[in-house]
């Protein structure tokens, strides 16, 4: 009754995997376990859309776990640069979303972020898109998380995959972006909401896991405008009292 976090029915699956691991100790089952752990961690990081502020310690520990897994995957070489195949894309998307989510999670907690009611619903893309699109930023937000530990090729792949995401972001919703750009007030944003929504809209196939969760949050960009309208209205009402 007090079990926290997700209760997935793949507990049995986990144990099967561990059993296989114990029995065989083959590389594939280990990497399978590692991948499932990575997925689980990303899911946990995404579950920040609660009314009560998420626990910073927990988020940091999960993010460190994710980083550790990705380091290992780099060393193993299983984490490859952008591959054109759809199969190769799936893990990369998840990897990319990691630090976006990590950043978003921390900045939610740390940098006095988005009110649910604020009209600066997605200020994040403002600060991110400028460096990316101008392609001359000294500090790339997507790679700064990994600055300390990732080798050069990590950043390259990050750039590419993030570029892809931001491209789709731009092409799909130009009007939405304009509205966002127009309200540069303060760094309040709900980056992961929008981005997961965008990514879910852009790539429904491989990202089923993410999309399933993004659906729980007010993601899809189509409602972005109406959301902003609603929020403006509500803020007006609240402010006047």
């Amino acid at each position: 009754m007090f079990a926290r976090g997700l209760k997935r029915k793949c507990v049995g699956h986990e144990e099967d995997v561990e059993g296989a691991l114990a029995g065989l100790k083959t590389v594939s089952s280990y990497s399978l376990q590692r991948q499932s752990l990575l997925d689980m961690s990303l899911v946990k990081l995404q579950l920040c859309h609660m009314l009560v502020e998420p626990n910073l310690c927990r988020s940091v520990l999960i993010a460190n776990t994710v980083r550790q897994i990705q380091e290992e995957m780099t060393q193993d070489g299983t984490w490859r640069a952008v591959a054109p195949q759809a199969a190769g894309r799936a893990p990369l998307d998840r990897l990319v979303s990691t630090e976006i989510l990590c950043r978003a999670a921390w900045e939610q907690e740390g940098a006095h972020p988005a009110p649910g009611l604020g009209n600066g619903h997605t200020q994040g893309p403002v600060s991110d898109l400028c460096p990316v699109t101008s392609a001359q930023a000294p500090r790339h937000p997507q790679s700064s998380v990994w600055e300390m530990d990732g080798p050069r090729e990590n950043r390259g792949s990050f750039h590419k995959s993030l570029d892809q995401i931001f491209e789709t972001l731009e092409t799909k919703n130009p009007s939405c972006m304009e509205e966002l750009f127009s309200d540069v007030d303060s760094p309040y944003y709900d980056l992961d909401t929008v981005l997961t929504g965008m990514m879910a809209a852009a790539r429904p196939g491989p990202c089923e896991g993410l999309a399933g969760l993004a659906a729980a949050t007010p993601g899809p960009s189509s409602s972005c405008k109406s959301d902003l309208g609603e929020l403006d209205h509500v803020v007006e009402i609240l402010v006047e009292t």
Binding site: M1, R4, N64, C102
Partner: protein, 637 residues
């Protein structure tokens, strides 16, 4: 069950001075003898004639930045425990410890006003929302899964429409324990087998709390603490309430029983708040309670939730004055012209009444969630630690705190480590330690610099490469750090073990005790259901010869440092017979399961004992199991 010392509904309390608004610290628990929960009658209004905001909890007084305050201190009545110390001169005490003067918080950027929670009026005004607005609001609330209030109030008020509020309207669960559950103390206790860990035998004494199957979230106990003498036992719960138990005097007619703990006082310490800017609710859950050493007849304790620390005064009143000249017995004013004779009021005894009143509110100093508070040995200052910062406060001054540790990186993306616990040294008022999520402990000396970002000692055990896994870092995160009473050792609790450190040796702990090593193979499942993030506490006994900590399935473990033996006991209703000895439990890790053993897979991970406390002198322990408080003591032979 006797309400230990609280008056029943008697004659209405007479106020000495008429107050503009009745202020009570806990209006909801009115059934429990409302008189005991009203604020002190000597509540002084603030400069603007409003009753002191502290009596109403937070909110009536908007927070002003320290730089704008013109008057020293706070408009509350001065602490009675400080002889001759006004708010202005308060800095002369502990803060003049040898060393450079501490820089006030003004030099360290005060968190911008925007991030501070705005005042939440006690009575949330129903807003007039037009129909379109209400529809829009309803859509948003539904999306965020908040039940809207009927009165059509804002999303802020709607956040309170949770079962937590409904549960709080009832009495705290600890008060509702049926009388039969309190130990009768009569009859012989069971023999049982000798305890494995200690030379004496632990037996059941009392249990507090209801036995309902579905427990209200608000009744879950979140902290347990004995005071310095051990006569008072305070518990805080998730509903923001504090319940204090007092030990009865030993009864001559029952020489074999020690005093039992009965309810002494209860009050609502914290209320839920809503941070408008972040659109997040601030929980009222009491994270920690710390007692202050007693200096006069009243008792003081600090209680904290995620953002605000409050100093509460618990005082008794057992006399009242009778025979006023200007008022008659009902409290009505007499006409001065009709008084023919004068009399001197006399003090008459009355039923004991225990009042709790908030004396100080230390707010708006923490951006992150407060996880620890610790009173200094100088009895004038205390520290409060959140995830990234530690602040030093003076008990008299609420509008200023000094930041002494700040581990927030300039770039939040580089954050990899947070503070998990902090404590002052029990004897040296300039020394404190803080633990981190990476399994390290830093000892800092406040004399070395104003900002103790550079530690004086760094305690870390080198990692065992053979047992490295993905979860190594998570399970090394320290959830609690406690100094021994002697001040020579400190104890840290990580997920699977308890370690005792000698302050003079930083390289490794002097003792490591495994709490539930059988969970090491289950870490993946525990990560999945989030149990791996549980924060267990640990405690020393009065003589520092034994340590205790909790585990799952309502088990708790005790380790005797001298005899090197340990025992696992269970806090359950089954072993709740009066003076029944606790049977040691065992978890079987694999292979054949012997009789009376429990297999790892049948452990109940929802029943976790996170909070335990040990009496400072006697062998009496208090164990919090979800919503129940168990009190055990050793058998007197």
């Amino acid at each position: 069950m006797r309400d230990g010392g609280v008056s029943g509904p008697g004659p209405p309390r007479r106020r000495v001075r008429p107050q503009p608004r009745p202020s009570r610290s806990c209006p909801r628990v009115g059934a429990f003898g409302g008189a005991s929960l009203q604020g002190s009658a000597r509540r002084t209004p603030d400069h603007y004639g409003r009753p002191s905001a502290e009596g109403r909890g937070l909110g009536l007084r908007p927070p002003t930045p320290a730089t704008l305050r013109s008057r020293p201190g706070v408009p509350s009545s001065p602490s009675p425990a400080a002889p001759g110390q006004g708010p202005g001169s308060a800095g002369a005490g502990a803060l003049d410890a040898p060393g450079p003067p501490l820089h006030p918080a003004a030099s360290r950027p005060v968190p911008p006003v925007a991030c501070r929670p705005l005042p939440v009026p006690r009575r949330r005004r129903a807003m007039t929302v037009n129909r379109a607005g209400r529809r829009a609001l309803g859509a948003i609330l539904k999306r965020e899964k908040i039940a809207p209030r009927r009165a059509g109030a804002a999303a802020a008020a709607a956040g309170a429409e949770r079962s937590a509020v409904a549960a709080r309207r009832r009495l705290p669960g600890l008060l509702r324990s049926p009388p039969s559950r309190a130990a009768a103390m009569a009859g012989a206790g069971g023999g049982g087998c000798p305890a494995g860990g200690n030379d004496f035998q632990w037996c059941f004494s009392q249990v507090k709390g209801a036995i309902d199957e579905d427990v209200a979230e608000a009744d879950v106990i979140s902290t347990v603490e004995f005071n310095y003498s051990g006569d008072l036992l305070a518990t805080g719960d998730k509903g923001g309430r504090v319940v204090i138990f007092q030990r009865e005097q030993e009864n001559k007619s029952r020489p074999h029983s020690r005093g039992e703990y009965n309810v002494y006082s209860t009050f609502q310490s914290h209320e839920p708040e809503f941070d408008y800017l972040k659109s997040l609710e601030i929980e009222e859950k009491i994270n920690k309670i710390r007692w202050l050493p007693q200096q006069n007849a009243a008792h003081f304790l600090l209680s904290t939730n995620d953002k605000t620390i409050k100093l509460w005064k618990i005082s008794e009143r057992d006399k009242r004055a009778e025979g006023y000249n200007l008022k008659d017995e009902d409290g009505r004013l007499r006409d001065p012209f009709r008084i023919t004779a004068l009399r001197v009021p006399i003090l008459k005894p009355m039923d004991l009444m225990v009042e709790a009143s908030p004396r100080r509110i230390f707010a708006n100093a923490h951006t992150y969630h407060i996880n620890s508070i610790s009173v200094n040995s100088d009895h004038e200052t205390y520290l409060s630690a959140d995830d990234l910062r530690i602040n030093l406060w003076h008990l008299e001054i609420t509008d200023r705190s000094f930041n002494i540790v700040d581990i927030k990186p300039a770039n939040m993306e580089e954050l990899t480590e947070v503070i998990t616990a902090a404590e002052f040294h029990p004897h040296q008022c300039n020394v404190f330690v803080y633990s981190s999520s990476k399994g390290t402990i830093r000892l800092c000396d406040m004399r070395s610099s104003a900002l103790c970002d550079r530690h004086s000692k760094f305690f870390e055990e080198p990692e065992d490469p053979s047992s490295r896994s993905f979860f190594s870092e998570i399970i090394s995160s320290i959830s609690d750090v406690k100094f021994s009473h002697s001040g020579r050792y400190m104890m840290t609790r990580d997920y699977l073990s308890v370690k005792v450190w000698d302050l003079n040796m930083e390289s490794r702990p002097v003792e490591t005790h495994q709490v539930h090593e059988y969970l090491r193979s289950k870490l993946c499942s525990l990560y999945e259901n989030d149990c791996i993030f549980d924060k267990f506490e640990c405690c020393w006994n009065g003589s520092d010869s034994a340590i205790m900590t909790g585990s799952y399935n309502n088990f708790f473990r005790m380790f005797d440092r001298d005899t090197r033996r340990d025992v696992t006991l269970e806090a359950s209703r089954e072993s709740s017979k009066p003076r029944a000895s606790l049977k040691p439990r065992k978890v079987c890790t694999g292979g054949k399961r012997k009789k009376d053993e429990i297999s790892v897979d049948s452990l109940d991970f929802n029943k976790k004992i996170l909070h335990t406390a040990w009496h400072p002198a006697d062998n009496v322990i208090a164990v919090a199991a979800t919503n129940n408080l168990y009190i055990f003591q050793d058998k007197i032979n």
